[in-house]
């Protein structure tokens, strides 16, 4: 199992840590080596608020291996309030379901269970509907 990889990504996955560009102050998530706004090198960590809105979504009925325990599940493009967009599962959805533009906030949940080799559990960010008035 890819333990080093999960360990390496834990800051991003547990705390939504991206980067702020030291040259143009652009906020970057997921982290990248070169700022997409100005082309400068980016490496200053920045923790995102975890608040955003749904830009688009899809309801997955056909899950790949390791993701089948929650079928059907919803994956969204979430536009973070700081600007970047992130791909994440939605959780805690009520019967109203999802709408484009819906405010959401980040939570940490189990994302995947590997059936093989001791069944490693992978945790990371998901987003849930923002409770009305909590903003």
């Amino acid at each position: 199992m890819e333990v080093p990889r999960h360990w390496r990504l834990k800051q991003q996955r547990y705390a939504l840590v991206g980067e702020v560009c030291p040259h143009c102050e652009g906020k970057i998530f997921p982290p990248r080596d070169v700022c997409p706004h100005c082309g400068g090198e980016a490496k200053t960590p920045y923790t995102f608020s975890g608040k955003g809105t749904v830009y688009s979504y899809t309801i997955m009925h056909d899950a790949p291996a390791g993701y089948d325990e929650n079928v059907p599940y919803t994956v969204a493009l979430v536009k973070l309030e700081e600007g970047p967009m992130v791909t994440a599962q939605l959780t805690d959805l009520d019967e109203q379901g999802v709408q484009i533009g819906m405010p959401v906030e980040m939570v940490t949940r189990r994302i995947r269970q590997d059936g093989d080799e001791r069944g490693l559990l992978v945790y990371g960010y998901k987003f849930r509907p923002m409770i009305a008035g909590a903003r």
Partner: protein, 386 residues
């Protein structure tokens, strides 16, 4: 740069070839292409494949396929660009001839998906996404298409059922293609009732993955003997453009910039405008991608591709026929081989060998293959040499 011509084509029918191995699938297409080429022999092989290392546990594919097909000793390359692997292999072969490196180069796209049973194929395909930030969230290629389609419907106020025009058209076009996987027309009622895969993407919006192999031989003018029997087709434009890999990193996920730019560059190279082609073989791996490809190429205003398709603009007798032999949806999607099938089908049209679906007086074709939501786009302009 030297002119590049297509001097041989070969294909196996797309489908489930349980009894045929990866190497034999490829060899059948390769030998068929060479058989057409009247003794022309390649000095290099370019292989387009995506899944062999994962599904067949076979890497080093160029050496294997050269060896198995009896082309001992020639130069070999594997080109991988997701679902656009075959088209990217063709682009590389084009560069090898145009630059003067070799006189003839064989391109083979091959994919063997039936060596593996279960959800492993979807997961292997999802490796063409950003593994850390897309695949890790349980997103498959159909999920990506779902994200794009949902936003498209929202932004342009298009009804979900409207996109059913594309699979319906593809199935109608495949009826007369003996190499197609599904040669049966479908009705719109069936589309409306199809089960959801990645809502709003349903089963009919998604091209079926299948085994396949297709090959084309490219040659320089100097290599072609006098009195060559096949009608000659020239590759007059070839462009490969990449975009941000992850959908979430794009300023406008509906823009398909790589698709647009590759059409612009290939057409500029060919000295034509996109509207001057007689047919467009596009990448309908998902219905929504057919719509966005048409819009990116300028054949439909944004948000209106399905509406124009409904009016018959992209049918065989329409203003700009698309996927004249059934496209990915009905011919089948042999993934890394798909881009070579498209080119081969365009060559059939330009040679006047497309049978019942022949486009009258076809002089030029535009051919485009995308990886996922156009993270890589490869576009070629083919031209009949009169």
């Amino acid at each position: 740069m030297r002119d590049v011509f297509i001097t041989g084509i070969g294909q196996v029918p797309v489908g489930e070839h349980w009894e045929v191995s990866l190497r034999s699938l490829a060899a059948r297409a390769m030998l068929a292409a060479l058989h057409q080429a009247e003794g022309l022999r390649p000095q290099a092989l370019f292989v387009g494949n995506l899944l062999a290392p994962v599904l067949s546990h076979q890497a080093n594919l160029a050496a294997l396929l050269i060896d198995n097909a009896g082309l001992d000793g020639i130069e070999g390359h594997l080109v991988e660009a997701g679902e656009a692997s075959g088209a990217a292999a063709l682009h590389s072969a084009f560069l090898a001839i145009a630059s003067g490196w070799v006189e003839s180069a064989l391109v083979v796209g091959v994919e063997k998906v039936t060596d593996y049973i279960g959800s492993g194929v979807e997961l292997a395909l999802a490796e063409t996404e950003d593994a850390d930030y897309e695949t890790a969230q349980g997103l498959t290629l159909s999920g990506l298409a779902g994200l794009v389609m949902q936003r498209y419907l929202h932004e342009y106020g298009v009804e979900r059922q409207a996109l059913g025009v594309f699979p319906t058209l593809m199935h109608a076009n495949a009826v007369h293609n003996p190499n197609a996987m599904f040669r049966k027309a479908i009705r719109r009622e069936a589309y409306a009732k199809a089960e959801m895969i990645s809502d709003p993407v349903n089963l009919f919006d998604m091209a079926p993955y299948a085994d396949g192999a297709a090959a084309v031989l490219l040659s320089s003018r100097a290599a072609i003997p006098a009195g060559f029997a096949q009608p000659l087709v020239r590759i007059s434009g070839s462009a490969l453009v990449t975009d941000r890999l992850a959908l979430h990193d794009r300023a406008d996920p509906l823009a398909f910039d790589a698709a647009r730019l590759s059409v612009e560059r290939a057409c500029r190279m060919a000295g034509i405008l996109p509207g001057e082609v007689n047919l467009f073989e596009l990448s309908d791996t998902f219905s929504i991608y057919a719509a966005l490809s048409l819009e990116a190429a300028g054949f439909a205003p944004t948000g209106r591709a399905a509406q124009l398709a409904e009016q018959g603009e992209f049918a065989l007798n329409g203003r700009m026929p698309i996927n004249t032999l059934g496209g990915m949806k009905a011919r089948g999607n042999p993934i890394g081989a798909a881009g070579v099938y498209q080119v081969l089908e365009a060559v059939l049209q330009l040679r006047g060998q497309a049978g019942a679906n022949q486009i009258a007086h076809a002089q030029r074709a535009l051919v485009q293959m995308l990886a996922g939501p156009a993270s890589t786009a490869v576009t070629h302009v083919l031209e009949r040499v009169s």
